[in-house]
């Protein structure tokens, strides 16, 4: 049925009352919704996307209401990846409902919702629930969840591009697979910013055999303008580093002249430092500036967001925590510290400014080291050409599936045949086979393989074919562990009166003594005492140089930007310098040419260098740090196949370094076999380092699959005798249960996600065909410098432990 004229009138009236005009895509969505379509809306933040789907939903309800076809209960679920956004969406929808005269309860439900409100929602559900992927699963862990969701008509998944390439996205896929069975005819709509693989995004969301669906693109063109902050004297600008403080004076006038500015950094530690330095440079900004990142308490973050919204802040230093969500209309300017590594993220951040219709989104890029100027030039072109990155969906995440199965077992229990059918329809698990499925069932019922159960294992029981958790404690433990976001073991930091400041990783705190001063949340804090997992502090005027670091994955340079970077260098070699960034870099690039060389696109630069530390071999494929890690492991393995040796490696987005303590005949070793993609995975599996990477992946997998329990909330101590080190688990599985699915998953994830196997393979093929530009360097070249000074090293070895220890001890004794 197309939208009834009366509802179409209401639609236009609503816009008129708001003094707005509907966009064409908003009208299109109204029609599609009434016709029962599912689909994907491609629209940027701040384009009215909430109303684009909210209004059809509400008008459809109003129409049914007027025709007397109403039952109470949940009608729609709005999923948002960030729980802080839920209240915002709730208010927008509620206002619209009120204006339309629809008497609907619209509420949010997230980890922040009180137990009282949750109980109320369970007894008498609202019509619309704004929630997160985790909370949906928590609801599915409740008894009678099927009745609870039975009247569901629509699910809207906001910011789907953010969820797509994560395990939280898989949680959405699984929830949808179940809800489609419970509520036949369910419409599913996603909302996504522009990414390179929109069609696939729709495919993943809607699953196999989708209902009628359509991808709708918002007809809004936002103007983006980018400017790079250029150092005055490139010769004196650091060759390596991630801070960029030398350029602080250059952004102060920009901030002064803008009503409100967002300064984005890539890490939380960087944000803390920049906040302090900006305050020191401009003390009168105190009170008008704020800090925002994911480790600060929710109260602080909410306060900053609303102050920003109301235009009360001149400046906010933030991380990706402000990438999404709320429209900050007063923000006029965005400054990005350090390369954003990808075009999509850069465009997203730029879009945080210039929300007024017709306004230009302006973003400044401050390079934190000289070479980032090449990235700046590449990014500028990528923005112009709209070369947005793809988000690769997660597949075969057994850990999430195990968690999901236990969730179903905790609530009402499940029959495997039905659930297997549903799960197979999802994109993530379309390739799962019967044998894997039975292994999963065995895992949750007997622990180990089908033939050999683990002793005293208690989890899911089978009664008359129904898989069910009957043990109350295990059910409770599971409900508390639902989710896929891993967190380092973090400690809560608060004042003596209990007011929370935020969270810091245990590792950082463990290195402090009582009375030590550290900077956090933009303040200098003195450590008073530690009680369990809680840290008490007080403000102090004492200075500190200690700033916590948080372990967050650094994103690799995207392949789009990488390719452009190689192109920029190619143009440079031939004297074609048009970008101001490249022009600024001339002195440094000439030094690179003098000490070594600059590669054309058809060349691969390799540098050899001998220092006190040993023999360095440097490759510059310009392919992003993750693929470089894979290459380094592969090359080290292949070079040492004949002769045992130990390498320590460092890598960045431009290249990687292999460093060894013994002279090797590099010229002979660098041959066609080195770049061969045959036996690629076998050779990578052969590298000892691979185990380390798999172990790291296993840590999250073990937590998601419920192998590790983080403890009951509010309990000061971790649950007694259940503390565990996932690394040990990994070894135990490796020794005694090699076919374990989670172990297999860790190995696969390490290859596909950690080392970006697809990209690695492509790069190797390219490199094999390239001319090798072998340069012996006397002094470090500008390209090599950041690699040579990197202290965060991985080691690669195929020497025996005994051998290595002997050597190390000999060296230690000699020194």
């Amino acid at each position: 049925m197309s939208a009834p004229p009366i509802m179409l009138d209401r639609f236009h009236l609503w816009f008129k009352n708001r003094k707005w005009k509907p966009f064409a895509f908003q009208e299109e969505l109204l029609q599609l919704y009434f016709e029962g379509y599912s689909g994907l809306l491609n629209a940027p933040t701040g384009s009215g996307k909430t109303y684009a789907l909210g209004l059809p939903l509400l008008l459809d309800a109003l129409f049914k209401f007027q025709n007397g076809k109403v039952k109470r209960g949940i009608k729609a679920i709005w999923i948002t990846p960030i729980r802080a956004l839920a209240p915002e969406i709730e208010v927008s929808l509620r206002n619209a409902a009120n204006e339309l005269g629809l008497d609907w309860r619209i509420e949010n439900r997230t980890g922040d919702t009180s137990a009282k409100d949750r109980a109320k929602q369970k007894k008498s559900p609202p019509e619309v629930l704004v929630t997160t992927p985790e909370s949906i699963h928590v609801l599915m862990a409740q008894k009678g969840y099927a009745d609870f969701f039975a009247g569901l008509e629509c699910i809207i998944v906001d910011e789907w591009h953010e969820l797509l390439s994560t395990k939280r996205g898989v949680q959405v896929e699984l929830a949808l697979s179940r809800l489609k069975s419970i509520a036949p005819g369910l419409r599913v709509w996603g909302i996504s910013a522009t990414i390179g693989n929109l069609d696939q995004a729709a495919e993943v969301l809607l699953g196999e055999d989708p209902p009628r669906f359509k991808i709708v693109t918002a007809d809004i063109q936002k103007k983006l303008q980018m400017e790079t902050i250029l150092p005055n004297e490139i010769e004196r600008y650091p060759w390596a580093g991630h801070l960029g403080l030398k350029l602080i004076q250059k952004i102060i006038p920009i901030i002064e002249n803008s009503r409100s500015t967002l300064v984005f950094t890539n890490t939380r530690g960087q944000a803390e430092i920049w906040y302090q330095q900006l305050l020191a440079a401009h003390p009168d900004w105190a009170g008008q500036m704020a800090l925002h990142h994911g480790s600060l308490s929710a109260e602080t973050r909410v306060w900053v967001e609303s102050a920003l919204h109301e235009g009360r802040l001149k400046l906010v230093v933030c991380t990706s925590s402000l990438d999404l969500g709320v429209d900050f209309r007063p923000v006029e300017t965005v400054i990005q510290i350090g390369s954003p590594k990808g075009v999509s993220r850069f465009a997203q951040r730029a879009g945080r400014s210039g929300h007024q219709p017709g306004a230009v989104s302006k973003i400044y890029l401050l390079p934190t080291n000289a070479l980032e100027l090449i990235e700046a030039a590449a990014l500028k072109e990528a923005l112009k050409e709209k070369l947005y990155e793809s988000r690769i969906p997660v597949i075969r995440a057994f850990d999430v599936l195990i968690q999901y199965l236990v969730t179903l077992a905790v609530s009402d229990g499940f029959y495997p045949a039905q659930i297997f059918k549903e799960v197979k329809q999802t994109f993530c698990y379309q390739s799962i086979n019967e044998s894997e499925w039975s292994q999963l069932l065995a895992f949750i019922t007997t622990g180990g393989e089908t033939l050999r159960a683990y002793e005293e294992y208690a989890k899911v029981e089978i009664v008359d074919g129904l898989y069910k958790v009957n043990n109350k404690r295990i059910a409770m433990q599971h409900r508390l562990s639902i989710g896929t976001i891993s967190s380092e073991s973090s400690m809560m930091v608060s004042y003596r009166n209990g007011r929370r400041i935020g969270n810091i990783e245990e590792y950082f705190i463990s290195r402090l003594k009582i009375g030590d001063v550290f900077s956090f949340s933009g303040k200098n804090l003195e450590l008073l005492m530690i009680r369990g997992m809680q840290v008490f502090v007080q403000n102090t005027s004492k200075k500190s140089s200690m700033i916590p670091s948080w372990n967050g994955g650094r994103m690799p340079l995207s392949s789009q930007v990488s390719a452009l970077l190689r192109k920029k260098l190619d143009l440079y070699v031939d004297g074609d310098i048009t970008d101001i960034e490249m022009e600024t870099l001339v002195p440094l690039l000439e030094l690179q040419r003098e000490r070594s060389a600059i590669p054309h696109e058809h060349e691969l630069l390799i540098e050899k260098y001998h220092s006190k530390e040993g023999y360095h071999l440097l490759f510059y494929p310009f392919e992003g740090r993750l693929a470089h890690e894979g290459m380094a492991m592969l090359f080290a393995y292949r070079m040492t196949k004949l002769k045992p040796a130990t390498f320590s490696i460092s890598m960045n987005d431009y290249g990687f370094e292999l460093l060894t303590d013994q002279p090797l005949d590099f010229d002979a070793l660098i041959n066609d076999d080195l770049f061969d993609t045959k036996n690629l995975s076998d050779d990578i599996f052969g590298s000892t380092n691979y185990t380390e990477i798999a172990k790291r992946r296993f840590r999250d997998i073990a937590a998601i699959a419920g192998l590790i329990f983080k403890g009951f909330p509010g309990k000061m101590q971790k649950t007694r005798h259940l503390q565990a080190n996932s690394g040990l688990f990994y070894e135990v599985f490796n020794d005694y249960d090699k076919n374990n699915l989670l172990l297999k998953q860790a190995l696969e994830e390490a290859l596909y996600f950690q080392l970006e196997e697809m990209r690695l393979r492509k790069a190797l093929n390219r490199m094999a065909a390239q001319d090798k530009l072998m340069m012996e360097i006397e002094r470090p070249s500008p390209f090599s410098f950041p690699l040579l000074v990197d202290r965060m090293r991985e080691k690669l070895s195929n020497e025996s432990v005994e051998e290595r220890v002997k050597k190390m001890i000999r060296e230690m004794e000699a020194s």
Partner: protein, 228 residues
Amino acid sequence: MLKEFIQHTLKSEELYLVPERALWWAASKTLILSDLHLGKATHFNKHGMALPNLHSHKDLELICILAEGLEAERLLILGDVFHSSYNTEFQLLNSLAKRLCTQQIEIVQGNHDILDQKYYADAGLILHTTPLIEGPFIFVHDVKELKNVNHDLYPISGHIHPGIRLYGKGRQSLRLPCFYFGERYAVLPAYGSLTGLHTVRHESDQDKIYGIAGEKIAMIPNTFKSPK
């Protein structure tokens, strides 16, 4: 068998460090080890976290091989024998006791040893609930438990699962389980397979640390300073 061992003389007593993470006190024919954490995997299984526990069998088998090979008269375990409350893995201790019927098995209680004493008694194991004084040594689980001790006694302890970090050229680094012989006390490496490492360092020139690299034991030079 002894030639794989490293000799370390302490208070005129000849001690041998065994790469299987144990200590051989020749004069008293005692094999000393610490921190078995038996039952850990099964404890996790009981709480719905699936782990294989076959390593426990291997761990105990190795104890038997050592004890029999050395013709030990006694096995002394410095605490954390059993990880938590009772589970079926305790049967392994029973069978260990049966197999080593000519040897006496003694345990100095550790913080993880919360089982009722009767379990140990039934298995024929001797449980010391206070530190054990013998010869020039005092055997204790956690050296921090000791207060007002006679300073002529040298404590030998477990509890912390010590590990040592080595650094080499090419900025390599490596962490090994280790024996720590300090000025004031000694710490043995954790014996159990399902135990982690806590990094220790030389605290004075008198400290001696032996790292376990696979099947070899090596004294770690004290001159070493970690690069900053």
